[in-house]
């Protein structure tokens, strides 16, 4: 029984947490991919930027959380999202829009986004330093330990308050995205641009405004994902490239330009990561004595050693590119 609880903690809860973060990042990447037609490499640093805003606000108003009974970082999230969204729009105006007006190829846009990511990285580390930071410097991080009603279950299911907030917020964003894309004028226009940009233009859809809405959504989701991840673990300014690969993998797995696919892709990648680094030897240990002699039980039976976690999203990416480049849900953009 303890083994199963261990599995729930290490694989299911952790996987759902990191999967939620990937999903929110991937929604933004996939929307940008669908509407502006390039892979936005600055997304990881946009997440870090959002978390950094939330952290700065937490330092400025450390008491804000207590008033409401939630972590201060979470209370500051809307402001951080707004700031990041505005920055995203401004970045587009200064760096991407002029290139689009020059009709450059998508690869040049990708390169420009790498330029932007380096600028963000430089600024974040200039002002924020490079060491990891913890949101809970003035508050206590609530950790819930849930005992299961089984006799042989001495371990408990562990879930932290930031994780619960992360799940709730992801759920909320999924519904919000669904509502925006299907019920609002600009959301529908985003789908139209993603479906057929030429026809969208001809229909009189104002592409510039749709672009702005896209960046607002992508920017605020990035900020939320970055902040919630940092609340759960810590704010690491050097996270960006490590986040970028799983997020791209999630977007491509889901089918590029396909927001629901991105959500599924996020969880696929998240669970794949936790499943691969999970030590399966734990499940075999109870049968240690009944195993055949030649089967020497090693203490670590993880599919992938933790230090090589980054290979998991890459492997998924390679498999999907070979087997089904359009993604599970047939994305528009190949």
């Amino acid at each position: 029984m303890n083994e199963i609880i261990f599995f729930i903690n290490k694989v299911l809860i952790s996987g759902a947490a990191i999967g939620s973060v990937y999903a929110m990042g991937a929604i933004g990447v996939t929307l940008i991919f669908g509407i502006l037609r390039f892979a936005h490499f600055a997304h990881g640093d946009m997440m870090t930027l959002g978390a950094f805003f939330a952290f700065a606000l937490t330092v400025m108003f450390p008491q804000a959380g207590q008033a409401i009974g939630l972590p201060t970082g979470f209370v500051m999230l809307p402001v951080a999202m707004l700031l990041t969204a505005i920055i995203a729009v401004l970045l587009d105006k200064t760096f991407y829009l002029p290139l689009r007006n020059n009709n450059v190829s998508p690869v040049v846009m990708v390169m420009a986004s790498i330029g932007v990511t380096l600028m963000l990285q430089g600024l974040i580390r200039l002002f924020g330093g490079i060491e990891a930071r913890y949101f809970f410097f003035a508050e206590r991080k609530d950790i819930f330990r849930i005992a299961l009603p089984f006799e042989d279950a001495s371990r408990k299911i562990v879930i932290t308050e930031p994780q619960i907030l992360l799940f709730l917020f992801t759920l909320f964003s999924v519904f919000a995205i669904h509502y925006i894309l299907n019920k609002t004028k600009f959301g529908k226009a985003m789908r139209a641009v993603s479906d057929n940009p030429d026809l969208a233009r001809v229909s009189g859809i104002n592409i510039q405004k749709v672009t702005i809405v896209t960046w607002l959504i992508a920017g605020s989701l990035a900020a939320a994902a970055g902040t919630l991840l940092s609340l759960d673990v810590s704010l690491k300014p050097d996270l960006s490239f490590n986040l970028l690969l799983p997020i791209f993998a999630a977007a491509i797995v889901g089918g590029v330009g396909h927001p629901y696919g991105a959500i599924v892709g996020g969880y696929v990648v998240g669970f794949a990561e936790t499943l691969s680094i999970f030590n399966w030897a734990i499940f075999l240990r109870p049968f240690r004595d009944s195993l055949p002699e030649w089967f020497e039980l090693s203490s670590n039976l993880a599919l992938v050693p933790t230090e090589y976690k980054i290979t998991v999203p890459f492997f998924i990416l390679v498999v999907i590119l070979i087997w089904r480049p359009t993604g599970l849900f047939k994305g528009k953009v190949i």
Partner: protein, 235 residues
Amino acid sequence: MSLVNVSNLVAGYGNNAPILQNVDMTLQQGQIGVIVGPNGAGKSTLLKSIFGLLNIHSGEITHNDKSIIHLRADQLVQQGLAFVPQEFNVFESMSVEENLEMGAFIRSDDLSDSIDKVYGYFPPLKEKRNQPAGELSGGQRQMVAMGRALMSNPSLLLLDEPTAGLSPLFMEKIFERIIAVNKSGVTVLMVEQHARQALAIADMGFVLVTGQNAFTDTGQALLQDDDVARSFLGG
């Protein structure tokens, strides 16, 4: 007063050599204009040029006597123009009704009357309103495309081969709808392969050959012209 006037137009794709060479064309308010000509003559190119999608080297295009060559597509829609491209003219992943809503992007008022009007023109669309446009038949897609264009309440409707690939029966139906739309006060300028049938309903006909005006006259006159008949209407 002419609603739309093209004079001495030289236009083409990007920096390539221009396709249209000094094309002239005038259409009065309330008319149906039909552009015919052999494949590759530049018919689609002419419509796209009017709709601001191509590089205009020289010449002038006016709508209500105002120059429109420097306007963006969404500004043209504001001005009362609407365009149905030859292909890829529906949002395939979106429902019929959403397609119609996209045509009305520039409007901020209530759309239900306009949507009902479109369903009035094209009754089959009403029962398919929630189906993705990509799943419809060719004729129904064409209806969605025209309906989408009508949603911005245009005064000038540009249609590029609205009957391409349709059966003769369906072609009749589409022409009939076009006439109905025209009767409601919308000026129509369309490109057609089915030259005879199209010229029959046209107030004005324009024959383009290799990017130049070959003949321009009323639809009836062109149908009766022996030269035109011999070279372009198959005898």
